[in-house]
């Protein structure tokens, strides 16, 4: 549509195929624009006139001529009904030479770019996830590097909570809060390792690199918390189970407890604050000894937890929270049986080959709540689970899942890639209705 006239919309206006808004716009314009009104009248007239073009009768003998030629074609040897015997599709026939040349060119480029040690690489074992020992060594290195000078320098780099992403720093934000969160995470971790009363609903295993990387980036200014957080991620399934049990016993508000270990690993102060209220009375299972440095004492339960995890279930699982789901539309699911879980897992991981091993869920006692945030314009988005609660509604008890999609904080850098954040959480089985509430 030009700035001054609506002539390019008149045709569709006449046909009645304009949207209501555009039709109103045209109608409004026509009320005061004489040239456009004139154009409308003329175009309508032309259409009417053309539509009245008479239908001509066939000239005498044309049908005979056409039939004669058609029969002649039908009798012609090899014409017309030969099946296409050519390898090339008919539309490609004129471009055969070009297509051949392009194919050869691509083949040459590919062959030249194949590395010489390709065969050796193919024979080499596939890249494995870091073993427990490797992880231990890396953790020690992290802890060692977390000593005073670097820690202070890091703290200086982020003196207040203002620079922290909103989703991680929480409303109170700040380094002090993050420290408290770190302590809470340690408490939770120690508690989980020492109690070990509840069988984990998901077969636990070492987290995929992504799961470790995310908290590392967010907590780059706090190496100590980062190291602890990494261990929290390692033992997250066990923590999840124990926290779940405790929360069910005490308050029935399941999610803050369930999310706490992951939240602790990521420094989520708002969720941790709730976690602390439950986990506070728990004492560390491993007593501190004067010979062991303070940081090592904190790490010890994690090492034990990892050893137990490695012995119990070596099968890998996908991170339960991330930004690369194959489900690209905002959707929520309650998964209550194995078939649905397998279908969802397959759909969710359809961009990963081979398909990650399906985590084992005991659907007799648990369900999976799956939340997919849909397409997001950049990295840095994640789903924050706020609460899972039960509430009476229309005479029944229903479950309400509240969550929000948290984006990268203003002024922070985020990867410029389309992301599809998701969150899969295991909850105690609830056979009533479940409502998902997305909070702003």
């Amino acid at each position: 549509m030009s700035k001054t006239h609506v002539t390019d919309l008149l045709s569709e206006y006449i046909e009645g195929s304009l949207s209501y808004g555009n039709a109103e716009k045209v109608r409004g314009h026509l009320a005061f624009c004489n040239p456009c009104r004139q154009a409308l009248t003329e175009t309508e007239h032309h259409i009417d006139v053309l539509k009245s073009t008479p239908f001509a009768r066939l000239p005498a003998g044309l049908e005979t001529k056409v039939l004669a030629r058609v029969h002649q074609e039908l009798k012609a040897p090899g014409v017309p009904l030969r099946e296409s015997s050519s390898f090339w599709p008919s539309w490609l026939t004129p471009m055969r030479g070009l297509a051949l040349a392009a194919t050869c060119g691509i083949a040459i480029v590919v062959v030249r770019n194949v590395p010489h040690d390709f065969a050796e690489r193919a024979e080499a074992p596939a890249r494995k996830a870091p073993t427990t020992t490797e992880l231990d060594q890396k953790v020690k290195a992290d802890v060692g590097s977390a000593n005073a000078p670097k820690e202070e320098a890091a703290a200086d780099n982020q003196p207040s909570g203002e620079k922290q992403p909103e989703g991680f720093g929480g409303s109170t934000g700040g380094a002090a809060v993050a420290d408290r969160d770190g302590a809470a995470a340690k408490d939770a971790l120690t508690d989980a390792v020492s109690s070990n009363k509840v069988a984990p609903p998901i077969a636990p295993v070492a987290p995929a690199p992504e799961a470790v990387k995310a908290p590392m980036e967010r907590e780059a200014a706090k190496p100590v918390e980062m190291a602890v957080a990494r261990r929290a991620m390692v033992a997250e399934e066990k923590l999840d189970a124990s926290a779940l049990q405790k929360s069910a016993d005490k308050s029935g508000r399941l999610i803050p407890e369930t999310a706490a270990p992951w939240a602790a690993a990521q420094g989520k102060s708002s969720v941790i604050a709730e976690k602390k209220s439950v986990a506070a009375p728990v004492t560390p299972a491993v007593p501190a000894t004067p010979e062991v440095p303070q940081m090592n004492r904190q790490v010890m339960p994690l090492v034990k937890a990892k050893a137990e995890i490695a012995a119990a279930a070596p099968a890998p699982i996908s991170p339960m929270e991330g930004s690369r789901s194959s489900i690209s539309r905002p959707q929520e699911f309650v998964i209550s049986d194995q078939a649905a879980w397998e279908a969802l897992w397959k759909r969710h991981n359809s961009n990963i080959q081979p398909l990650p091993v399906l985590p084992q869920i005991d659907f007799a006692t648990h369900q999976v709540l799956a939340i997919f945030a849909g397409e997001r314009p950049s990295g840095g988005f994640r789903i924050q689970l706020l609460e899972v609660s039960k509430t009476p509604w229309n005479g029944n008890t229903v479950r309400v899942v509240r969550f929000r999609v948290v984006g990268p904080a203003a002024g922070t850098m985020a990867a410029q890639v389309i992301s599809y954040p998701y969150l899969l959480t295991v909850q105690p089985r609830f056979d009533g209705q479940t409502f998902f509430q997305k909070r702003p």
Binding site: T7, D8, L9, L10, S11, E12, S17, Q38, A39, T41, E42, T43, H45, H46, I47, V49, L50, K51, S52, T53, P54, F55, A56, R57, L58, P59, A60, L62, E63, K65, V66, L67, R69, V70, H71, E73, L74, V79, P80, L81, R82, E83, S84, S90
Partner: protein, 216 residues
């Protein structure tokens, strides 16, 4: 293009031109694909009037319309084995007819551009000289007689449109084809088709006024 054969009889009543004259049942399509002469003959008899009228409206010349119609059916018979039945037989034939006509226009355009004019004929380019022997788009007298002045002028204006614009207006405004069928015939998407029709109507309006057409 050669001069026209004034053998057309214009009829005042507009005949139905929509799809459906050729019953598109799978058995018939299968017979067509296998080259069954009876099925082919049935197709020709059912679709010939529409195809001829389309060719006439596109070429504006009865003789050319005659040739184009024959060529269309010959091409169709040659391509019968490739017809998948994804569209109506009439739509498929329309597509062939439009392509045959476009090829003819392209050929004529090239022929005109590469035509050599001898020095003896060069004087013909002067204003008072005799016109060169360049084929025109004749119309059958009967049809001219039946049309109003505006109608004739509009058809002349359509002659000056680009082939694609002429094709969309012929199919939409003269043949009254629905958008989706035109899109299939011209193998373009609906959005492109709508904007092309819009532009073609505007061009037609401008040319019509330039030719002296009066605003209604």
């Amino acid at each position: 293009m050669s001069s026209g054969n004034p053998s057309l009889e214009a009829v005042s009543a507009r005949q139905p031109t929509g799809p459906g004259a050729m019953p598109d049942n799978p058995a018939l399509i299968e017979k067509l694909r296998s080259g069954d002469p009876e099925a082919v003959e049935q197709m020709v008899k059912a679709e010939l009037p529409r195809i001829y009228n389309l060719c006439l409206r596109l070429s504006r010349n009865p003789t050319d319309a005659d040739d184009l119609t024959q060529e269309t059916f010959v091409h169709a018979v040659r391509a019968l084995s490739n017809f998948k039945g994804e569209s109506l037989v009439s739509t498929w034939l329309y597509r062939i007819a439009v392509n045959v006509w476009k090829n003819r226009v392209r050929y004529e355009t090239r022929r005109q551009k590469s035509r050599h004019v001898s020095l003896s004929q060069a004087r013909s380019l002067e204003p008072d000289s005799e016109p060169l022997d360049i084929p025109g788009a004749d119309r059958p007298p009967e049809e001219w007689a039946a049309l109003s002045d505006d109608h004739r002028l509009l058809l002349e204006a359509m002659d000056q449109l680009e082939p694609d614009d002429r094709a969309v207006l012929t199919l939409r405004d003269i043949d009254d084809k629905p958008y989706d069928e035109i899109a299939k015939v011209l193998t373009m998407n609906l959005g492109t088709l709508k904007s092309r029709i819009s532009r073609a109507r505007e061009k037609l309006r401008v040319i019509f006024r330039r030719l002296g057409g009066r605003a209604s």
